[in-house]
Symmetry: C2
Subunit: 194 residues, 2 copies
């Protein structure tokens, strides 16, 4: 075999190894996927970065609300950009997972632990797709796709009350100091400090 | 330059790229680190896989316990092995994070959200280091290292009540069906099905 062919073969092998390793990384950089006008249900979000959990959180004084756990997740790539800027990059998805709570089980004598999945709420920042930059979707357990919610349902409340862009970082204790450090934190809907 | 040298250079470059990418991966494979007899505080556990959250969980009927959130995390490499076997590999660390809860804040009108860190509980499977395989450690907010807790403090309760080896998978809704599928799930301390 000619030396030039051996060199070319070695470089192709190198490229193949690098591409295979890079594709492993790419799989962990999920972005919103659409099917027509609908958002495709995010998969494997439980392997994203955990943001925080609430129990029975309620923004209106409605005693009829179920007492659910809500867990929030964001992809690693978007989290890393938040850590270095206090802002969410375009194509960020945040998944809010609703789970039933349970108090009786095994050796537990007090308090609550998490049980079955009820559904997902997904918040997407996609500035090229949505005129209002952010859009909101809900997925029942069997839903593979979801249409965007009406603007009045989620968008307006996030616009008026979210601490960082459209996200409720006021409830996320590890992200709040990052945003404060970068001056992107709005105190209770007040203007950002810079 | 001789072709053989070019080939060697190309292969070295390939090796360097592969090693650099592999070391990125290695950083995400944390294992327990010790300083003498003490466990070194795990860092960046918030970037591990989130397992589940409880609020005010209590294994004894003690009304004096504070009503705290507890978040559990496990490294990605150990999680992947659990998914494919229903068991924890040797050198698995599970971090249980204690956080204060808060109900008044921003637009929240009901329920609780997470606040300041109180401390960490860490459970380690290290069969070469610990005669009892598993050991338990507590870190206050300023602790960089911690000595293992007395066997009576945590180990005995986990030995008697944990659903999978020494871990309370009965409270982890996404891991429970995996362990049940592999037959490694003990119902309330009963023997495993295989």
């Amino acid at each position: 075999m000619k030396p030039a062919i051996v060199v070319a073969a070695a470089l192709l092998l190198c490229l193949a190894v690098a591409c295979a390793m890079a594709s492993d990384e790419a799989r962990s950089d999920p972005q919103p996927q659409y099917s027509g006008d609908k958002l495709v249900r995010p998969e494997r979000y439980r392997e994203w970065i955990y943001v925080s959990t609430g129990l029975g959180m309620n923004y209106t004084p409605d005693p009829g609300m179920a007492d659910q756990f809500t867990n929030v997740f964001v992809p690693q790539w978007a989290y890393r950009q938040f850590l270095s800027s206090g802002k969410w990059p375009d194509k960020t998805c945040l998944v809010l997972e609703d789970r039933n709570q349970q108090s009786k089980g095994s050796i537990n004598r007090g308090g609550r632990f998490q049980a079955d999945l009820i559904g997902l709420g997904v918040e997407v920042k996609d500035q090229t797709r949505f005129a209002d930059k952010w859009a909101y979707f809900n997925f029942g357990n069997d839903d593979k796709t979801a249409a965007a919610n009406p603007k009045q349902a989620c968008w307006v409340c996030h616009e008026n009350n979210a601490a960082v862009e459209h996200t409720f970082v006021q409830f996320y204790p590890t992200l709040k100091p990052i945003a404060q450090q970068f001056g992107t934190y709005h105190e209770h809907g007040a203007p950002a400090t810079q």
